[in-house]
Symmetry: D2
């Protein structure tokens, strides 16, 4: 029996469908995670490329947009075990080029910017209350890495009772195997998976439905 | 280049070593997750078997011990999206046999019991303050599933600045591929991996060192 | 210049008005906090009496209802500093009569019951995600004590971006001065204050408006 | 019976004593909260004056030091209900003079700086894990206002199982009555109260004891 068969037999892998109030979370699309010489890899470049379309869609649709970036204090004052476990985390201090957003995905006024030092965009941040104030119940997630901060944020999103949607062509990882394994886990237990095109179409359908109602 | 090579080149996969003050967290060793007819699978039985040794060690050593179980209110009052995503989550209501601890791993007086409704043992629970009160800085983790609640708890553990140790022969999953993939992720980014025997030996060495100092 | 004048001059004491989606939180209406021989006092009895009307209203109106009770593990396994600071906290263990809900305010099926060990109903509990799933943006709060767990819960409510409404005749304290002082603080900084009658009227107006719209 | 008598009869008002590992938290000693023309008042100036001694002591003693400041995004992107409840919260945007630390209490390299948008220094921030990493179990708290962000931070501190010590001459408020009422509440339920001089003496005694042991 394949893994998928086991999960299906145990009731996993279904979908709750989407809610009516969406927001977009872009996780760590910074120079440090897009550049393969730093912490990037196989398909993060492509994910960042496609995320431009996703971000443009969200802005056009008037969705709340939040961006995270990893940034550690230059003076080491917020040193953490998670940072310490990587021998090159000094490349992500606040003043390092690696902690800057990639130019094509820089936040604009009114979008939430979360500086974070741990994997999840929710842990020790104001993201959940920010989404609550905006009545969001469905969270589109793009970013990197799939197996790291995207996964951690998706687990927290559903724990906060938000419906996470992993936008498959807008998330990437430094290696293919972890990318695929984590898409599998998220699909089975936590999130819907949709391409950017499917997201855009679903939104148009929802809006048309709202107009007809 | 293999995934491991990529991670190594980027500074991942190191170890911080262990701290001096340990606790044990056993995640969801309940009937529902050990029984393959419910939510169990390939090696969870074996993990529960080995966890008896780990638990006995922790009790002998006087470590704080916490146990989690998934339990949903019988009247549906705490229904959540995470539960709703599984079509058989009704098998884990508080009065269901599936939500009971397996007999060999039942908590004893003085051990913390956390009823939870989401993946992480930390999310929406008192676990982090409980560990803080006991000066814990190193968290041994056994339980199931590796790719689900163990992984989520380990990510939160390091985010709380605890050193997580995944006890490899005491964690299990319903399928082999997710088990292995998540051990890889945790090893690279979040946790040390040690067998139960290695944990016991390391503790003896630490205690001997403390006596000699 | 009176305290109120100072606060007014500095921009405090305004109201945001109510949102459209309400829930009710009853904090610690248990035997232990209503009985003056345990942890009760001057007006908690009266608050519990009026809370029967508030609870009946919420049930009729179909609002989500959550109840908290303080309960400590009988075996001391979840001992905390907050409990240890009171020399009689053993009167609130799970099997003590003091930790039971007062008969007139016992939860019914479908209402969330939160066992808690710290002041705030939100801290280390699933309350915020539970309210998020129900799209709540306005939280009516009754219970006791005004200066203790009600205040702590109200501060967390607005921090979660919920609009707290302290229902003044449904909150009580063991002494008059802390009751009044904390109503003042909450009014200035965190919450609207309304009587139960005002809450019921405001709801009727809102519903009528919704029908006309 | 006075309020204090009632609290004493019910087991409140005791002290747990201090732990062995201290840190200092200075809450919102910014221009906006010290200046009476903004959000300051009666004794905040004096509190800030005495806090210089407290801060110098903590630095000499090598204690971990954390500072918070209220700062709202200039573009309104992190607007919250708590900020919206005050009609002059625009005076605390990140680029406003009001959000800057007072010159005598500016953080130095290695001290944690927390920008916050809600009352508690812990809510939605990394403070608890930061203290955990430093093995802190006792938190000295100075700052302002006593009835606002100090109180909220103290409630969260004990909920995290840290022993809070409110340094009485280093906390202040915009009016006398809330200051006194909240010192009373904290003393009864959550914290020890000590003057800066008492803190310094207690530390010397503790260090001497450690040398003799």
């Amino acid at each position: 029996m394949s893994s998928s068969d086991i999960y299906a037999a145990q009731g996993f892998g279904g979908s709750l469908g989407l809610g009516q109030r969406w927001a977009l979370l872009l996780v760590d699309f910074t120079v440090g995670f897009v550049d393969p010489a730093l912490f990037g890899g196989v398909d993060i470049d492509a994910a960042a490329y496609h995320a431009r379309t996703l971000l443009a869609f969200a802005r056009d649709a008037g969705l709340p947009v939040a961006h995270t970036r990893v940034g550690y204090a230059d003076d080491g004052s917020d040193a953490s075990l998670f940072a310490a476990r990587n021998q090159r985390s000094h490349l992500l201090t606040d003043s390092s080029p690696g902690s800057r957003f990639v130019p094509a995905l820089v936040p604009v006024a009114g979008e939430l910017v979360i500086r974070k030092t741990v994997p999840s965009a929710f842990f020790g941040t104001g993201l959940a209350p920010w989404l609550a104030l905006r009545d969001v119940n469905t969270l589109l997630v793009g970013g990197c890495t799939t197996s790291g901060c995207v996964r951690a944020s998706v687990v927290d999103a559903i724990s906060h009772n938000l419906r996470p949607v992993v936008v498959t062509d807008c998330v990437g990882d430094r290696a293919q195997a972890p990318h695929q394994a984590n898409l599998f886990d998220m699909r089975q237990m936590y999130a819907d998976l949709m391409s950017c095109g499917e997201v855009v179409s679903a939104f148009a359908v929802m809006r048309a439905g709202a107009r007809d109602a």
